[in-house]
């Protein structure tokens, strides 16, 4: 028994073996399991209609999405908006199809942006939910659209034209380009209850 009280005992058993065991069994193993089953996906290969006025070639568009992702990290958007739909608490009705491991194995999720807090709604099914203009206005001043919101304004992603009209700069467009990619594959499988108009209510089962 004395060995576990000694330098080498504590060092090897607690410090190395138990820790390594945990990292391998509940860290690396499940991570590799997911990683190997679902191949890593790349960026979208079509420019959506709404963005064709901003980006003429695919390369620019893909770069903008990555830039938008970086801005999403820099502004800590992910601290208030999660990016996965759970199979509980009616989230399927609120946000759309439940998240699966495979859908996140993309370059946009390196590093992962699951998030652990929802001050605002989940964004993993955000694509196409709102128009680009809605997003621009909302980023410029969220309270102008939702008076009760606690989301901060991001005026530095806009420049003022001569007529004092704010227009999004390259970064502003990039953020929205990124937001409109999130869950684009699920566009037609979603019900939106936050929109209170009656035609978007889910069909009764």
């Amino acid at each position: 028994m004395k060995i576990i009280e000694k330098f080498s005992g504590v060092f090897l058993i607690a410090g190395v073996f138990l820790f390594a065991g945990a990292v391998l069994s509940l860290g690396i193993w499940p991570a590799m399991m997911v990683d190997q089953v679902y191949p890593r996906r790349g960026l979208p290969i079509d420019i959506p209609e709404d963005f064709q006025s901003y980006y003429s070639n695919l390369d620019d568009y893909q770069k903008a999405i990555l830039r938008g992702r970086d801005l999403y990290i820099r502004e800590a958007c992910w601290h208030c908006h999660s990016q996965y739909v759970r199979p509980v608490a009616n989230e399927e009705l609120r946000y759309g199809p439940v998240s699966t491991p495979g859908e996140f194995n993309t370059v946009l999720q390196l590093p992962q942006l699951f998030g652990t807090r929802r001050v605002g709604p989940d964004l993993s099914r955000e694509a196409g939910l709102k128009s680009n203009d809605w997003h621009f206005a909302h980023l410029y001043n969220p309270m102008s659209i939702v008076p009760e919101t606690v989301m901060p304004a991001y005026p530095w992603y806009f420049t003022k034209t001569k007529g004092k009209v704010p227009v999004p700069n390259a970064d502003g467009v990039a953020i929205v380009a990124y937001l409109q990619v999130l869950g684009a594959n699920f566009k037609n499988q979603r019900t939106n209850l936050d929109d209170t108009s009656s035609e978007t209510m889910p069909p009764k089962e």
Binding site: F7, P87, L93, T106, V150, P152, P155
Partner: protein, 476 residues
């Protein structure tokens, strides 16, 4: 069963030896840094909470955007405030328990300045927009390798006396420290690099959740427990209640804590077996908690009166009570059914405030109240200010805890009820007001602490100038 090891008592008697054994300057600096970061933490927390009331004091300023301030808040807590307090404690405890000095006092000084410049650089770069997108690891990616190297050098500095004393059996504090010294660099490296460069999405979340948990579980927790196991017998002048219990607690921590990871992403696409395993392990953590809590309370029970008269004991007691409450809470909130409601809500925010502030910050405050007056050789400036500090902070964190837990349940229920999302924001508003109020109470309490410490320091300077310092001896 012993108060502290023989090595300790030997060194205590040899006053001259003690002087060179511990580098009091480094210990002092780390506690000063603890207090400086505390100011940053409190101010950033307060301004961020005002955003929730639509009253953010610096709207429209890019470098003071609330999102960035939030990351400064958490980074300053983990790497600024708590780490500095714990490092200061280590520079005192490790030489005392092993009766050997750290590798080099010069290196300790250098590491202090290097480490804290890195933390300041982290804060500046996050504000400038270079944050990393991983929770508790927002340190910009360019700083990660440098910090990893600094941590490894720190560990070598700390392990030198342990290596020299390896023939002895160690007091339990030293086990916790030794284990934490091995875990911390490993945790830092895998948590910062694997999800950033190797594993994406779900796989990345599996690793990242491990980092979120291990930073608290394998760095802050063992060092915090080590610090109270050392401090409590010393300040109370009674032996630790049970050495055997502390051993069980240690091995419980070493076994269960690293397996807790996936409970930060329950109901996520992470493989379900990993989630179940982490839930079971999280409940196993109670082995650790109850042994620690029982041991500390039983030690204090030998002389309850000291709760009134002995300031550090009171801080340790309250911190331990908070530890017990959070961990009972943990067993409830970690179940998959509770997660349906409280995940993503303010409940989690309340829980983390209670753990990092209510428990670990309280324990480090006990250290500050005990150690700094001794180093300054001056009794604490004002007992009444220290009482104000204790009661304001305790009441403040209690209000914050109850408020955020309730807010969490309300938010979770409203989301499940399918009310429009903005309704949950409206319903949270009263809770967020109370949260800001409780934050201000804590802020005022900590201001009492900082003023008290500053005045004590000033007094010691005056005495030093007047040449009367040595006459005072060790004040407490």
């Amino acid at each position: 069963m012993s108060l502290i090891t023989n090595a300790e008592t030997k060194t205590v008697t040899k006053a001259t030896e003690r002087e060179s054994l511990v580098d009091y300057d480094v210990v002092k600096y780390h506690f000063y840094a603890f207090m400086v970061y505390m100011v940053i933490v409190l101010l950033s927390g307060l301004s961020y909470s005002l955003q929730f009331l639509q009253k953010y004091p610096f709207p429209g300023i890019e470098i003071l955007s609330p999102g960035r301030i939030r990351m400064v808040h958490t980074q300053a807590i983990a790497y600024g405030m708590l780490a500095n307090g714990l490092f200061g404690m280590l520079y005192y405890v490790v030489p005392k328990l092993t009766s050997f000095t750290v590798w080099s006092h010069k290196l300790s000084q250098f590491l202090f300045w290097a480490y804290n410049s890195l933390v300041v650089a982290t804060v500046v770069l996050i504000l400038a927009g270079f944050a990393q997108g991983l929770e508790w690891a927002e340190t910009p990616v360019i700083l990660d390798p440098i910090i990893a190297i600094a941590v490894v050098i720190f560990v070598l500095n700390m392990l030198t006396p342990v290596w020299k004393a390896r023939a002895n059996t160690f007091y339990v504090s030293l086990w916790y420290i030794l284990a934490a010294m091995i875990w911390t660099p490993l945790v830092y490296v895998f948590g910062n690099f694997l999800p950033q460069y190797v594993f994406a999405g779900t796989a990345g979340a599996t690793i990242s959740s491990m980092y979120i948990h291990d930073l608290v579980g394998l760095f802050v927790t063992p060092l915090g427990i080590a610090s109270v196991y050392y401090l409590l017998p010393v300040v109370m002048r009674v032996p630790l209640y049970s050495h055997a219990l502390s051993i069980i607690g240690f091995w419980g921590l070493a076994f269960f804590y690293p397996l807790n990871s996936a409970h930060h992403y329950l109901w996520s696409p992470i493989p379900m077996w990993a989630q179940y395993a982490s839930v079971v392990a999280s409940i196993g953590v109670h082995v650790v908690v109850y042994t620690v809590v029982f041991n500390i309370f039983a030690t204090i029970s030998s002389d309850w009166k000291q709760l009134q008269t002995n300031l550090p004991v009171r801080w340790i007691f309250t911190g331990t009570l908070a530890y017990l409450i959070t961990c009972i809470q943990c067993a409830v909130q970690v179940t998959l059914s509770a997660q349906e409601i409280i995940h993503f809500t303010d409940w989690v925010v309340g829980h983390s405030h209670f753990v990092l502030f209510g428990t670990f910050s309280f324990w480090i405050t006990a250290w500050a109240y005990w150690l700094l007056p001794r180093i300054w050789k001056t009794p604490i400036f004002s007992v009444s200010l220290s009482r104000w500090h204790y009661w304001l902070v305790t009441i403040g964190i209690a209000i914050m805890q109850i408020d955020l837990l309730a807010a969490g349940v309300v938010q979770g229920m409203m989301w499940r009820s399918m009310a429009p999302f903005i309704d949950s924001v409206k319903a949270s508003m009263p809770f967020w007001w109370v949260r800001t109020f409780s934050g201000i109470v804590i802020l005022v309490g900590e201001a009492c602490f900082l003023i008290n410490m500053y005045m004590t320091w000033q007094e010691s300077r005056n005495k030093e100038a007047a040449g009367t310092l040595e006459l005072q001896g060790s004040a407490t």
